[in-house]
């Protein structure tokens, strides 16, 4: 790919003069798009601001400046939503093109500030200890409303994580590293049920053509929660047969969804989960502590897998 490529394509008659003129402007950098640079700046800005403001309102509680900062944040939240509501087109079930390139970050900023203030008010007026559950549920409901009203996948994933945390499931790879994914016992069972129910709802919504482009986000979270939950159950060891069946069923389903949504990510989940489950089973029954067998197993299984993927490469190359 060089600067001369558009010209070459044009001379071969593969693109028209009109198209060449347009494309050449971009490729030869007569026009440069700074869309992603500005979006990244805005994203960093929103992140820094909400983090800073979040810390600020918890400091100096009870002092005068503190009340001012709360009022300022509330006004800012109102401004954000005022902007959002005046600029948003009426609700539809399909994808909406946003009014300005920064529209969705304004919505995000407003929502995050709203949550900060809500959290602060509960903290200040002492309703927090008893009603933490209710509060996450309110948060989640609010996020779902915003996500659907303003057609915002980012807020949708916040809504799903909030809903999951209502059920005490923490959806974050950062937590998986530290091994705190399930802070209590039997949470993996809740995780499996939660993700299955949510997946069913997501598919029903999709079938009714309500925000079809949200389905991927829903299913992505569902699969992550489901597989981590069932693999945790598997490694607990007592009822591993049941969890094994669950994982295989999940994989079959994920494979089906991967074809349906044309998503290679789901395919990745299915393969990885199936591999972990099978390895666990074989390790328990056949290989045990034979280091030689383990080496041969890794060569044979992974080698076989590579050959399989390459042999059926056409099957795995449908573009999304």
């Amino acid at each position: 790919m060089t600067k001369e490529t558009p010209k070459e394509l044009f001379e071969k008659g593969l693109i028209t003069r009109d198209q060449f003129n347009k494309i050449d402007l971009v490729v030869s950098r007569k026009i440069v798009s700074v869309f992603y640079e500005l979006r990244t700046l805005l994203y960093l800005g929103v992140m820094l601001f909400t983090t800073g403001a979040g810390i600020l309102i918890y400091q100096n509680i009870g002092e005068f400046g503190h009340i001012i900062s709360i009022i300022t944040l509330s006004i800012l939240t109102i401004v954000c939503f005022w902007y959002a509501f005046t600029h948003v087109p009426p609700y539809t079930n399909t994808k909406v093109k946003s009014a300005t390139p920064y529209f969705d970050y304004i919505v995000l900023l407003g929502s995050l500030l709203f949550i900060s203030i809500q959290g602060y008010l509960e903290f200040q007026y002492g309703t927090l200890d008893e009603n933490l559950g209710a509060s996450t549920l309110v948060t989640s409901a609010f996020f779902f409303y915003i996500a659907y009203r303003f057609d915002h996948t980012g807020i949708l994933s916040l809504a799903i994580t909030a809903l999951a945390s209502f059920w005490s499931i923490s959806v974050s790879p950062q937590k998986w590293y530290s091994g705190n994914f399930f802070s209590g016992s039997n949470l993996h069972i809740i995780a499996i049920i939660f993700s299955s129910v949510l997946a069913v709802i997501a598919i029903l919504l999709d079938k009714r053509s309500i925000k079809k482009h949200f389905t991927f986000t829903y299913l992505n979270f569902c699969m992550l929660i489901f597989f981590v939950g069932s693999i945790t159950g598997l490694f607990m060891g007592d009822l591993y047969g049941i969890f094994l069946l669950l994982i295989y069923t999940g994989c079959a389903f994920a494979y089906y969804l991967a074809r349906w949504e044309k998503s290679f990510l789901f395919l990745l989940y299915a393969f990885v989960a199936a591999y972990i489950a099978t390895t666990y089973l074989l390790g328990r029954l056949v290989i045990r502590e034979e280091i030689f067998l383990w080496f041969f197993y890794s060569i044979a299984s992974c080698g076989g897998f590579i050959v399989f993927i390459i042999k059926y490469k056409n099957h795995f190359s449908k573009e999304k």
């Binding site: 693109i15 929103v46 918890y58 916040l158 080496f295 390459i310």
Partner: protein
């Protein structure tokens, strides 16, 4: 020596990739895209990103098995024997990569990367091990040589970055080990050396005969710019002087010629920014944004006011205001810049963005009674791991 690949195949693949972007942005229609894909047919096997990850991981596991067996046979010999075997094994891996996969038109298929890194790893560990691991001259030159070779022959981008880092390492440690005045001028050596690298790579990038290495040269370009800045950055110079060159600073003391480095820290980002806007060069522009952030960090590091939350909020406000202002300013094309998304980047995918947002912006804490944070306390998860 030349690339391991057929040049036309690589070029055709790049054309197909590029025209696919045009098609997705409705510059051309599907019919045209299909015709172009037919005209620029390539035999290379280059699967999509997720499949590449799958193949990469699977290959690493399979290779772990192979290496395990290999060293079970050689493990009983003495240390020299193992290290020689390791070099030998690394070289065999290179040959295996070429004969089995590259001959069958694998191009960055996940398998090739895994095999390549595996081969590089064993060769480098073997060679530097033969010199007892503590001879950094040998280790660094060996890294530089092998990474450059891999970057050049297999067009690998990670190897390109590794080669640049090794180059910086060689430059630094060779001057460092000479000692005396040569240690003092390392910052200037860095700035001069990487300015030359930058200019050369930029020249080479424009040459059509080197078009298959375009992305590698782009990496070198960006890395050189970063190193020019790092060479002059006050924080880097000061901390390295204190830690490596036994410069002891009393409170209130400063490094020699501090004002020069303060100057570099402030002016290099501004020069980059100006030059980036002026020449409409997106590489310099991005690097300049990054180093501006690092300059702010440098000054906050030494002159902190002790209120990080105020700085955070303030920086947030400035960034939000600035980017929205620029968005509005670039509503029409000005100076060749536009706010519109002309051709999407690989990572400019809405779903990735949604995931990043969910991982960095609150809503993450589990609902356990022991946690005393409310809805607002859990922000700022920091670097999200986007295992996408």
């Amino acid at each position: 020596m030349k690339s391991a690949y057929n040049e036309t195949s690589i070029y055709n693949l790049a054309v197909i990739k590029e025209t696919k972007r045009w098609y997705k942005h409705h510059f051309i229609d599907q019919q045209q895209f299909n015709t172009i894909a037919e005209a620029y047919k390539t035999p290379l096997y280059h699967p999509n990103f997720i499949i590449r990850i799958l193949l990469f991981v699977a290959t690493l596991f399979a290779l772990a098995g192979v290496s395990g067996l290999f060293f079970l046979f050689f493990g009983s010999s003495n240390e020299h024997g193992i290290l020689t075997a390791s070099i030998f094994y690394g070289i065999i891996s290179f040959i295996f990569l070429e004969l089995v996969f590259l001959k069958n038109n694998h191009y960055k298929s996940g398998v090739t990367e895994a095999l390549l890194y595996h081969a590089i790893g064993f060769t480098i560990v073997g060679i530097s091990g033969l010199f007892d691991f503590d001879n950094f001259h040998v280790t660094l030159f060996c890294c530089l040589l092998i990474f450059s070779f891999s970057a050049f022959r297999y067009l690998d981008l990670l190897c390109t970055i590794a080669a640049i880092l090794s180059f910086a390492g060689v430059l630094f440690f060779e001057f460092y080990s000479v000692g005396g005045i040569f240690q003092q001028i390392i910052p200037f050596i860095f700035m001069i050396a990487f300015t030359i690298t930058y200019i050369v790579s930029k020249k080479l990038k424009a040459s059509p005969t080197l078009r298959i290495w375009r992305n590698n040269l782009l990496m070198i370009e960006a890395a050189s710019l970063l190193f020019i800045y790092i060479g002059g950055n006050y924080l880097v110079v000061r901390e390295l002087s204190v830690n490596l060159m036994d410069l002891s600073l009393e409170p209130g003391d400063n490094i020699p010629f501090a004002f020069i480095f303060y100057g570099f820290t402030i002016f290099i980002p501004l020069v980059f920014l100006y030059w980036g806007i002026r020449s409409k060069d997106i590489v310099i522009l991005r690097v300049s944004l990054f180093v501006i952030a690092f300059t702010v960090f440098t000054f906050k590091y030494y002159y902190s006011l002790g209120h990080p939350e105020v700085s955070l909020t303030g920086a947030g406000i400035i960034l939000i205001a600035l980017s929205i202002a620029l968005f509005n300013y670039l509503k029409i094309i000005r100076g060749g810049f536009t706010r519109e998304n002309l051709l999407s980047e690989k990572w400019g995918n809405v779903n990735v963005e949604a995931f990043i947002i969910s991982q960095t912006m609150g809503g993450n804490q589990a609902n356990t009674v022991t946690e005393d944070t409310g809805g607002g306390g859990g922000f700022g998860g920091g670097g999200a791991s986007t295992d996408f």
